[in-house]
Symmetry: C2
Subunit: 340 residues, 2 copies
């Protein structure tokens, strides 16, 4: 397997992408990696790790001179910064020199480069970012977490089909249920957009569970929650921020007196257990579903562990090859709608 | 002051509304209360509390025969259930027999009854529900938490002006900042709707802080966060559900072994402190801003304490009378726009 890694993407690049790459290369021996970025800096970073000749032989380099900054427009970056590490990484897929790309860089730039260079799959107009969200009782896939800001209802249908296939083929769910994020459980509840989506999802070849409310997300599990990228991004960031805020708050309260500190020490395994389960680094990258290639988006502030796991997700996606299944299922659905 | 209480509204009616009313009557002696609902049931519930003659003399009754169920359409309920406790409560304001209404019942029915019977304020087309959200570092007002599902950008402008006035006049904030909930801090980030809103808010007579991301909600305080009622409701419910889920998770982990239990006991004050601060019961009801009257919505699952605090919020709203200020400020803004 050949994976391209955007070595300049993310808040801690090239350090963390390369540290994650080194961990992934040590753990999995079935892939080679092309590091895309400012080659002298990337090589300098690689040389900080003591790698065997065998490991070094699995690493390639592609030199790039540009980086997409966070305040740039994603779509303009593809046109104006043709030599960005994101664009060049996606180019490698197009040229058949990589089977998957992993980036912790600018989400909009990765989405735009993927759409422009790789195109979307037949039957899918816009891609959706599928993020795994851990809860006490389950893990669910939130699609779209921010790839497409103003989608049509047809695109939500695409997310539901693609999410179901990903959940089934890659995550091993059996008949995964799809919930439509809305503001009431009845079909009549929601805005004009979600009501349209509800109709389309009711006829789709998925296990549709109806509307999912904000209340249900963490208590009443479905395997896939679909929504537009604006709402999905807000839900993702609100949840991350609230969880972080609660744990930070708890920490400062637990350090306020010596007795509380002792209590926290005795109960530390409880906190560790939750921290482990909610550590998004363990979940790694999020697949951008619907583009004609495998693109894995890692969080901008990814740790080495998160980058390693994003590479793991890329490997799994290469192994499972769900794009042909998506194409076939969307085609079957269109044909069955045309018949009726 | 005269307050109408929907005694049949909420998951635990008439028990909790009446228990809350009894607490409020004991704590504050400057108001009288009309209990609206099935009079025999309401009187039976009242009689469970041993009230003095003086307190009883502050309680009135209005008998109603209908209750709006949670699965009904709010707007249809106003037409079809003219004798519902929500409708009759709002009627009391219209007839000048109450200065404020408090209900833990069906949000959509309260919103629809308020709009149809009381009308909105001049310059305001649709009301917004303003919910107080506690965080470690601050408290912010989220508007709209679900009163208006598909608003125009002009309505978001109204929420920003009304929220600023409420924050200033009732909560005592000095120059409260308004953030527009979106998916990136730059003005260019967001969907078509929020970009329109951004323009309007930039020219509004408010302290506009630009876009607020999901990440910022709990860490980077503004005093008011505005968004459409669909997104606001999802953010509110997601946050409530996630916080509850984390604390529940923590509890079960802390009870897993005797050592952890001991630790949790020693550290209990840390948990209590956070629980108190995040206990939405303390914040009471949420004002429905923009209708020509004072309507306070309490959470459907309100405890007696939450109902008591919703009545407190109604008292504060009567005392501060912000509706004339809203009318004047919206008028001034329209005139200033017309001049330029």
């Amino acid at each position: 397997m050949k994976i391209a890694l955007d070595a300049m993407g993310g808040d801690f690049a090239p350090k963390n992408p390369i540290a994650g790459a080194v961990e992934a290369l040590a753990t999995y021996n079935d892939f080679s990696l092309t590091l895309v970025g400012d080659e002298p800096r990337v090589r300098a970073e690689v040389s900080k790790h003591s790698l065997s000749q065998e490991t070094l032989s699995r690493i390639g380099f592609v030199h790039t001179t540009q980086v997409v900054e966070m305040n740039e427009s994603g779509i303009q970056s593809v046109r104006r910064k043709k030599d960005s590490s994101i664009s060049r990484s996606v180019d490698l897929i197009k040229k058949g020199e990589a089977e998957a790309v992993v980036s912790a860089g600018h989400t909009g730039a990765l989405v735009a480069a993927s759409i422009i260079k790789l195109r979307t799959l037949p039957g899918i107009d816009r891609p959706g970012l599928a993020v795994l969200m851990p809860t006490k009782t389950h893990v669910f896939l939130l699609i779209d977490a921010g790839a497409t800001i103003d989608p049509d209802p047809e695109q939500i249908l695409g997310y539901a089909v693609m999410g179901s296939i990903y959940s089934r083929e890659v995550l091993g769910s059996i008949k995964p249920r799809v919930g439509l994020l809305s503001i009431g459980s009845e079909a009549s509840k929601g805005n004009e957009f979600t009501k349209e989506c509800f109709k389309l999802l009711s006829e789709a070849p998925i296990n549709f569970a109806g509307n999912t409310e904000g209340h249900d997300l963490f208590s009443n599990p479905v395997e896939i929650v679909v929504c537009d990228g604006f709402v999905g991004n807000i839900v993702l960031k609100t949840s991350e921020s609230l969880a972080k805020s609660i744990f930070g708050w708890l920490k400062s309260e637990l350090h306020a007196t010596p007795v509380r500190k002792l209590g926290a020490f005795l109960a530390r395994e409880a906190f560790d257990s939750i921290k482990r389960r909610t550590n998004t680094d363990e979940y790694g990258g999020s697949p951008l579903l619907g583009v004609n290639g495998i693109c894995i988006k890692a969080h901008g502030n990814s740790s080495p562990l998160a980058m390693k796991n994003a590479i793991r997700v890329a490997r799994e996606s290469i192994r499972h090859q769900i794009n042909p299944i998506i194409i076939a299922e969307m085609k079957r659905h269109r044909e069955s709608l045309a018949k009726n």
